[in-house]
């Protein structure tokens, strides 16, 4: 028993922990210094006054949420076990603003002693002083947006920092007392070879972060990159470096995880790897159907069996938050049916390398995975795309490559 347990990964470890009644919080800071060429997030530059007004609105939203939950269940304070500051560039927040928000959280929710509190940080936007302040406020996990260690690639991506600044920020974070640091990289950049991808990865590993996320570049709609590279149907402008072809892209992808394994990391999701015990619990929550409340512009929530996202309109958001009583800014509210929950359980759970637990499936839905998805499971295992072992279902390496195609088969 012991050995199998050990061989299982992050999802299983997460499932063993008791999350009953726990909630995750996501706090969105939608401002940046400059928009990157690949970025399709809700993010834009803004002046200090706008940022300040926004943080005030955020704090109000957090407080109101706490009050509403308390009103529904008198005497109950909602327990929170992960908090995540995302953006945008949250490291552009002043220490006072961060404090304001964490204080609002502490006044409205019961934050677990061992809560994972992450913040995204861009190189060149936070010095040791700010990082030390964050650490003292309880932020205990940092996610550094490195993206690449080649200055020409960084420039092409529209990043504001150099490769040297990544190291500086990383060392400052260590100095400030961060013992759980993650780093983001983008692979399959324009003109990238397997060699250059390896250089990026090795530079990141040399800093010895606890966690690494490596994303294959996706050309998203409404980004400068989309304009440069055209749609899938139109040929890219020859003036730009070509994107790696599919075979190179997959080679880079597979070599990435191989190198990380060799360096003592364990891949636990399509784009994430960590030293054992340092997996991002907040993110695992998304893939395990854990409830979360998203605060801020455009932020998404899963709570009380429904999904929604906040308005993406900044003015509407700030005005609604200061109105008395506060106006509802939820958009695209959808109450999940059992079918929705089944679909999500599969397509989110299967992102993780150790996939889904058949036991948890049965407990959650009162029927076995075979009863619901027997045909698909049988077909995908026969095709060598899905593996069934130790009471779990997970994609093989080949299955991960074409996971969208496979996940679509779990939709009703």
């Amino acid at each position: 028993m012991g050995e199998r347990e050990l061989s299982q990964g992050a999802a299983a470890a997460y499932e063993r922990k008791d999350h009953t009644g726990a909630l995750s919080l996501y706090i969105h800071f939608p401002f940046c210094v400059r928009k990157c060429a690949y970025c399709d997030f809700l993010s834009a530059p803004a002046d200090e006054e706008t940022r300040e007004a926004y943080v005030d609105a955020l704090a109000r939203e957090i407080k109101t949420a706490g009050e509403r939950i308390a009103a529904q269940q008198p005497g109950h304070v909602q327990y929170v076990d992960t908090i995540y500051f995302g953006g945008g560039t949250p490291s552009l927040m002043t220490s006072a603003q961060t404090d304001h928000l964490l204080t609002a959280v502490a006044m409205s929710f019961l934050v677990a002693d061992d809560a994972e509190i992450s913040a995204e940080c861009n190189p060149g936007t936070a010095d040791q002083e700010k990082l030390a302040a964050w650490r003292s406020m309880g932020i205990n996990r940092l996610s550094i947006g490195a993206q690449s260690f080649h200055d020409d690639d960084l420039k092409r991506l529209g990043r504001i920092h150099t490769a040297a600044q990544i190291g500086q920020t990383f060392r400052a974070a260590r100095q400030a007392g961060f013992t759980n640091i993650s780093m983001d990289l983008i692979s399959s950049l324009p003109g990238q070879t397997t060699g250059r991808a390896k250089e990026d990865l090795c530079s990141a590993m040399a800093l010895m972060p606890e966690h690494l996320s490596v994303y294959s570049l996706i050309i998203e709609e409404d980004t400068p990159f989309r304009d440069m590279y055209g749609s899938r149907e139109t040929a890219p402008d020859p003036a730009y470096l070509p994107l790696p072809d599919e075979d190179t892209e997959r080679e880079i992808y597979h070599r990435t995880w191989q190198l990380l394994e060799e360096g003592g990391y364990r891949q636990y999701e399509i784009s994430s790897a960590a030293r054992p015990g340092y997996e991002c619990f907040h993110n695992i929550g998304y893939w395990k159907g854990h409830e979360y409340l998203g605060f801020g512009l455009g932020a998404a929530s899963l709570y009380g069996g429904a999904r929604w996202s906040n308005t993406p309109d900044l003015q509407e958001y700030t005005e609604a938050m200061s109105a008395v009583p506060q106006r509802d800014i939820r958009r695209e509210l959808s109450v999940l049916t059992e079918k929705d929950r089944l679909e999500e359980f599969m397509f989110l759970g299967l992102r993780m390398t150790d996939g889904i637990s058949e036991e948890v499936f049965a407990k959650t839905f009162g029927k076995t995975a075979d009863e619901v998805y027997g045909d698909v499971i049988r077909k995908q295992t026969e095709q060598g795309m899905l593996e069934r072992s130790g009471g779990r279902l997970f994609f093989t390496e080949r299955g991960v490559d074409i996971s969208n195609t496979l996940m679509a088969e779990y939709m009703f």
């Binding site: 996501y26 994303y215 294959s216 570049l217 996706i218 599919e246 075979d247 892209e249 997959r250 399509i270 784009s271 993110n283 998304y286 893939w287 979360y292 998203g294 455009g298 932020a299 998404a300 929530s301 899963l302 999904r307 996202s309 695209e332 959808s334 929705d340 679909e343 999500e344 397509f347 989110l348 992102r351 095709q383 795309m385 991960v400 490559d401 074409i402 996971s403 969208n404 195609t405 996940m407 679509a408 088969e409 939709m411």
Partner: protein, 605 residues
């Protein structure tokens, strides 16, 4: 009672080569005439029309009754009968012509006589119709009416001394056409006192009236309450309503006497009981014999039709039955395919007819259809002395049991400007054509006569002709006979499994080329699958061509956090929807359109 006076009735049609202005002329004639006679206006038939209008009944314009006030001060009834304009529908055309006493021949003043001009004139003359020509589009800069007039006299032998020179588009000299209808087309003859003898030239299904039968009364009178007998099908019905065709609607009347064109309804339940070409007579007092010329339409082209959604098989059956009412030439019988499930083997007059039916199934019945490769009817002579009419390639016996095979051959005429004789001869050669002769109509134009196997012209011959002649060639054909031929069955294998719906019969000499093209086409039609998929063409178990659909390398979303989940879900739902448009054959997903698309071979050489 003037409208019942045969001398004031004219039944005619307009014939022309495509785009020479047939429908435009018809529109002008309708505009310049009336709908009702003076007596009908007094009878307040308008009330009836309002009811019709409220019920939203409109009729297709196979026939239109016009009331014309001639220059001699008399009122005439014109029954203008439309004829389908395509060689596929020659039988329908011949029945429509049989309902007429004369025809207006429209010739384009810029193009002169074309292949279908001749074909239509000959057809009209075969039916003893009086034909008078008009020259259209005389207002165009490139019009050469004098030359065209000469051509009509020399080639067709129609007198052109008083030919109307018209512009249907701009309404020039249409009055001359209307007057010549009276002077050049004979009035109908027929005795209202004789037993009823009427020709069915069309029919349609109306959801309120049931089957509406279009008839030309030769003898006798057709009235409501009468029991009628269909002489070919043997059906007997009680007539409920008779009437004639106003522009766009039915106008009921008391009776249809000899010489008239109109419709009747009889609550006909079985839609197969009214066949185009059949003769209607009185059950109590039948006429001596049926009108000549009825034949059960002979389909020339067959293909399999399958509902994309297998649940819709009964719907498809119902739709085909309804279509068959308007379309006596359409035949179908159930068949099954390993690849496509339950469907029908359908027979058509030609490829255009097939496309029309597919289009109607889609538009009028909302049915998504997968059709298999169209083929002609082959005669298979077996070694045991028996003979087989082969409409489905899958039913071809083992080669060892085949003594020989025969395929249908047509006599084809291509009219072409001399510049393009070379490319067109080359095309006919490639299509296994046997050259017969070249006849010059004038210095710059000639008719090329060829014998061509029908199966070489049902796919894309028209397109190839058009592209190689830059649109300057016209084409017509008629079935000649069956001739022995070296034919083989080509199987297409996807992932090493033969796909029965893609099998077809091909001449041995062209097999390699066709197989190669099919594989290339199919390779592009099949999206990448999880695994590599070989696409092969085989004759008699021997692989003669192969392509490979490479395996899908990557379909993965790198990022999926809290804010991405709803979007990701929509993406997966869309992907799932896309799969519904696929037909799983073996374990390969083939888009439904692919079955049709692979047949459209590019004519690039």
């Amino acid at each position: 009672m003037q409208e019942n006076n045969q001398s004031h009735i004219r039944n005619f049609c307009i014939v022309a080569h495509i785009d020479h202005g047939k429908s435009t002329l018809a529109d002008r004639m309708i505009e310049m005439t009336g709908v009702l006679t003076k007596r009908e206006m007094q009878d307040q038939v308008l009330d009836n029309m309002d009811i019709e209008r409220e019920r939203g009944i409109t009729i297709k314009s196979q026939a239109t009754r016009l009331v014309y006030h001639a220059k001699n001060g008399e009122e005439y009834i014109f029954n203008l009968i439309d004829t389908p304009g395509h060689v596929d529908f020659n039988y329908e055309v011949s029945r429509s012509l049989a309902a007429c006493d004369g025809a207006i021949l429209v010739v384009d003043a810029t193009q002169g006589i074309q292949a279908q001009t001749l074909a239509n004139v000959y057809l009209a003359l075969e039916h003893d119709l009086e034909v008078f020509p008009v020259i259209n589009k005389i207002d165009l800069a490139s019009a050469r009416p004098e030359e065209v007039r000469q051509e009509i006299e020399d080639v067709i032998g129609l007198g052109c001394s008083d030919v109307p020179l018209i512009s249907a588009k701009n309404g020039i000299n249409i009055d001359q056409v209307l007057e010549q209808v009276i002077t050049k087309i004979p009035a109908p003859v027929g005795d209202p006192g004789n037993p009823l003898q009427a020709l069915i030239f069309d029919s349609l299904y109306d959801q309120y009236k049931g089957v509406v039968v279009f008839v030309r009364i030769r003898d006798g009178v057709l009235k409501p309450g009468m029991k009628v007998h269909m002489m070919a099908t043997g059906a007997e019905e009680d007539v409920v309503e008779v009437g004639y065709f106003g522009p766009g609607r039915f106008i009921p009347c008391d009776e249809l006497p000899a010489g008239m064109v109109g419709y009747f309804t009889a609550s006909i339940k079985n839609i197969r009981d009214s066949r185009v070409g059949d003769t209607v007579t009185e059950a109590e007092r039948p006429c001596a014999k049926a009108l000549p010329g009825y034949k059960k339409a002979q389909p020339m082209v067959y293909c399999g039709m399958y509902p994309a959604d297998t649940q819709k098989y009964p719907d498809l059956k119902d739709a085909l039955e309804k279509l068959q009412l308007n379309d006596a030439a359409l035949t179908f019988e159930p068949e099954t395919s390993l690849a496509l499930g339950f469907g029908f083997r359908c027979g058509f007059l030609g490829l255009l007819h097939m496309e029309v039916v597919l289009e109607r199934l889609d538009r009028e019945y909302d049915l998504d259809i997968i059709s298999t490769a169209p083929g002609v009817v082959y005669h298979v002579f077996k070694t045991d002395g028996t003979e087989l009419s082969l409409t489905n390639p899958s039913n071809l016996p083992d080669p060892s049991q085949i003594e020989h095979m025969e395929e249908p051959v047509v006599n084809a005429e291509v009219m072409v400007t001399t510049d393009f004789i070379g490319p067109i001869m080359q095309l006919c050669q490639e299509r296994r054509g046997k050259y017969l002769s070249t006849e010059y109509i004038e210095k710059t134009r000639a008719i090329l006569k060829y014998e061509l196997p029908l199966n070489e012209i049902i796919y894309d011959f028209f397109d190839a002709l058009k592209s190689r002649s830059k649109g300057y060639a016209s084409f017509d054909y008629e079935l000649k006979d069956y001739e022995p031929s070296e034919l083989v069955k080509m199987d297409i294998l996807v992932n090493r499994e033969p796909v029965d719906a893609l099998s077809f019969i091909v001449h041995a000499d062209g097999a390699y080329e066709r197989g190669r093209k099919m594989c290339e086409k199919l390779k592009d039609e099949i999206p990448r699958q999880m695994f590599e998929v070989p696409v092969q063409a085989a004759v008699g178990g021997r692989i003669i061509a192969r392509e490979t659909v490479k395996a899908m390398r990557k379909d993965v979303l790198a990022k999926c956090y809290g804010g991405d989940i709803s979007r990701k879900k929509k993406l997966l739902e869309k992907q799932k929807e896309g799969k519904k448009r696929m037909q799983t054959v073996g374990n390969v997903e083939i888009p439904k359109e692919a079955f049709m698309n692979v047949l459209k071979l590019d004519d690039t050489n």
